[in-house]
């Protein structure tokens, strides 16, 4: 049960990273647009940069799904999801638009699960010894 729930969490959060990555690769202009909208640092909004980030996110998602190089891939996923959550922090902290949004702005409540995804990655890191359905564990890798 424990290993299976960790596997399911790895697959679902890894697929989210892959989805983000595929979106950036397929339509880097959309990723750049999102960057400008939610205040990414300017250099991250360049279309070439979006392609590179997209490929990296896709690869990271695959590594997490497989449970490969976990000492690196889990913290990296945690950082990516944390940065993603921080960039939309207003929508998470004030999902009803009570105190952080101007009258003409509307919070996106569908962003709230971003917080759960970040925390889920922390759980994966905390219970790594139970994560036996991972390639690292099967191959006896020290990760």
């Amino acid at each position: 049960m424990k290993a299976i729930t960790l596997l399911l969490l790895r697959i679902s959060t890894g697929v989210v990273l892959m989805l983000w990555g595929v979106f950036r690769i397929q339509s880097p202009e959309s990723g750049a647009g999102l960057g400008e909208r939610f205040g990414y640092p300017g250099f991250l909004s360049a279309e070439n940069m979006q392609m590179g980030i997209g490929v990296a996110e896709t690869a990271l998602g695959v590594a997490v799904i497989l449970g490969l190089l976990r000492k690196i891939s889990y913290p990296l996923q945690m950082i990516v999801l944390l940065v993603g959550a921080l960039l939309i922090w207003k929508h998470i902290a004030d999902p009803f638009g009570l105190f952080l949004f101007a009258e003409d702005e509307a919070p996106r409540r569908t962003f709230f699960p971003s917080l759960c995804l970040f925390v889920a990655t922390l759980v994966m890191m905390a219970f790594k010894e139970d994560d036996t359905l991972s390639v690292d564990h099967k191959l006896g890798l020290p990760f």
């Binding site: 989210v16 889920a120 922390l122 905390a126 219970f127």
Partner: protein, 141 residues
């Protein structure tokens, strides 16, 4: 660390239930629109929305507190699992390639699956869930 991460997962998933509940009570027209669109109108009556909203808020608070865990954790998993089941096309086809068309795809629905799986963690690792009121009060839940 383990107990703390389980507490965080309880708080984040519990707050999501509270959020859903408050929307059902505070903005039933939005909730009814969602029901019509994704739940085949099953819970479209305003009275039902208010009742469900109240129950979701209570359940979310109990999960955050770690109270009556034998009941609340499975109930939360069922609620979140049902939520995922109703939008299964968007989960299986988040890019709108074969089950939904590109215009109606909702990629932001996919994290619902992560939230459902996350709600299984306090069930699977309950012995580590020491930062819960059940444990603090020595309740057998």
């Amino acid at each position: 660390m383990k107990a703390f991460t389980l507490l965080l997962i309880r708080i984040s998933t519990g707050l999501l239930l509270v959020l859903w509940g408050v929307i059902k009570i505070g903005a039933p027209e939005n909730a009814i629109s969602v029901s019509e669109r994704y739940y085949s109108g099953l819970i479209s009556a305003e009275g039902i929305q208010t009742g469900l909203g109240g129950a979701e808020i209570a359940l979310g608070v109990l999960v955050c507190l770690g109270l009556f865990r034998k009941l609340t954790y499975p109930a939360q998993a069922i609620v979140l699992g049902l939520g995922v089941a109703f939008i299964w096309q968007h989960i299986l086809d988040p890019l709108g390639l074969w089950l939904v068309d590109e215009d109606s795809r909702r990629t932001l629905f996919f994290p619902s699956l992560c939230v459902f799986f996350a709600s299984l963690m306090p069930l699977a690792f309950k012995e580590y869930d020491s930062l819960s009121l059940d444990r603090k009060f020595g309740l057998s839940f």
